[in-house]
């Protein structure tokens, strides 16, 4: 019994240490999980923008071909894809790498998260379009899944700070790449107006700016491609309106149908542009959220300050802002089509 009394303070210290480790872990793990949710949603959103732009361009060309047929032409129907396989692969690869990275961060802290503030990411992805964004790699990359959290007692207390420190290093090393990825996607999404004096020169690449917030866009990217496609489609419809109106007697039913389609297209085009613009804002928020994670780890878990999880303050922190924006973009995209 005497031995137990001597050992009691040691157990108490271990208990307190475990409490400190767990407190830090819960906050950081929740934030990492929230960030991961946001990344998965952003991957789906960006891929969807590329698909929608490709489809809008194809639809505009298809409607032009249909009008050519109606006017007695025999046009070539071989429509090449707007984006090359290399274009799509370069972007899907980096989004997948980011998803794996954020998934592994989450897995390394698995079981230490308080509660997921955003749930049902997979459900939302299913809704948007099956196969739009392949998360199978990140979800199957569970090599560190629950390993640390499944440990108990001394092992967990001794290993958790070491793991947190290593995760801090990983996050700090990854940060420039996360920012570069966000900047490149920001440029891809583009603008319908020139914001930079560099627009007459070579294509904008990362050497032209130091951070995502400094980027001044040139006319181009998905926003301009989409806007051009919608405009071309509207012109085709307007030409159909002109042709049916000139008929004797005028084809009133046909004209009404085309006018309705024009109005619908205008509205859809405006909504899609607003969502793509929202995605650009979310990319800036993504960088801020990752920076917050980097600061939370601080490269050293013992010095890291846990992020506040108070619901009121939670809504304003960069990680929640990013995760909420990404989730909202998914909802908006589901509504627009």
């Amino acid at each position: 019994m005497g031995c137990f009394k001597k050992a009691f303070p040691a157990f108490l210290i271990i208990g307190l240490l475990a409490g400190c480790v767990t407190g830090f872990d819960e906050n950081v793990a929740s934030n990492v999980g929230l960030f991961d949710d946001g990344i998965k949603n952003m991957g789906a959103v960006v891929n969807r923008h590329f698909d929608d732009t490709e489809n809008a361009s194809r639809k505009a060309l298809e409607n032009n071909l249909k009008l050519q047929f109606d006017l007695g032409g025999t046009p070539n129907m071989d429509l090449p894809p707007l984006f090359t396989a290399e274009d799509r692969l370069a972007r899907s690869s980096i989004l997948e790498a980011l998803s794996i990275y954020s998934g592994r961060l989450t897995n390394a802290l698995a079981g230490r998260r308080k509660e997921p503030p955003l749930t049902g990411v997979s459900d939302r992805l299913e809704k948007i379009e099956e196969g739009t964004f392949d998360i199978s790699h990140s979800s199957s990359a569970n090599f560190s899944d629950n390993l640390v959290s499944s440990l108990s007692g001394f092992s967990k207390i001794l290993l958790a700070p070491k793991v947190n420190r290593k995760l801090g290093e990983i996050v700090a090393t990854a940060h420039p790449y996360v920012e570069k990825l966000a900047s490149l996607l920001y440029l891809d999404l583009g603008s319908t107006t020139d914001q930079s004096e560099l627009c007459d020169d070579e294509p904008l690449i990362s050497k032209h700016f130091n951070s995502i917030s400094e980027i001044k866009l040139c006319t181009g990217g998905l926003r301009e491609l989409m806007s051009m496609s919608v405009a071309a489609d509207i012109i085709t419809l307007q030409q159909r309106v002109a042709l049916v109106s000139a008929k004797i007697p005028a084809d009133i039913t046909g004209r009404q149908k085309y006018v309705s389609e024009i109005l619908m297209l205008q509205q859809t085009g405006q909504r899609q542009d607003a969502i793509i613009h929202g995605t650009q804002k979310a990319l800036i928020q993504m960088v801020a959220a990752h920076q917050e994670l980097r600061d939370a780890f601080g490269g050293n878990s013992e010095e890291a300050l846990p992020l506040t999880l108070n619901p009121g303050e939670r809504a304003l922190d960069p990680i929640s802002v990013f995760a909420n924006s990404a989730s909202s973009l998914i909802a908006q995209l589901n509504r627009v089509n």
Partner: protein
Amino acid sequence: MSSSYREAYSDLLVAQKLLNSQDLSVLDPPRQLEVVQMQGVVFAEIQALLVQRLSARNEEYSAATEGLQQSEAEFLKIKEWAESAENGEKIFGGILKGISILLPLL
């Protein structure tokens, strides 16, 4: 012949504007078809030109992807630590069990 991207883009926009301003209903059928064909060609050219600028960033994407993938090795270290600790825990668990049997006897 346009000498730069900007010139080519501007020229195509001018051509598109001219074609789009044409009222098809006042043209004869062969001319109508010609205008619509040209609209399709100019539209496809504009789209291809815009995509060229996007494709110019493909290499930068590849470099950033490789950078992100560097974290793989570091995550692997965490896995190894955790596995090693798990093994240690099994041994430690056995010792603890022994102590718990011994403590009441002391």
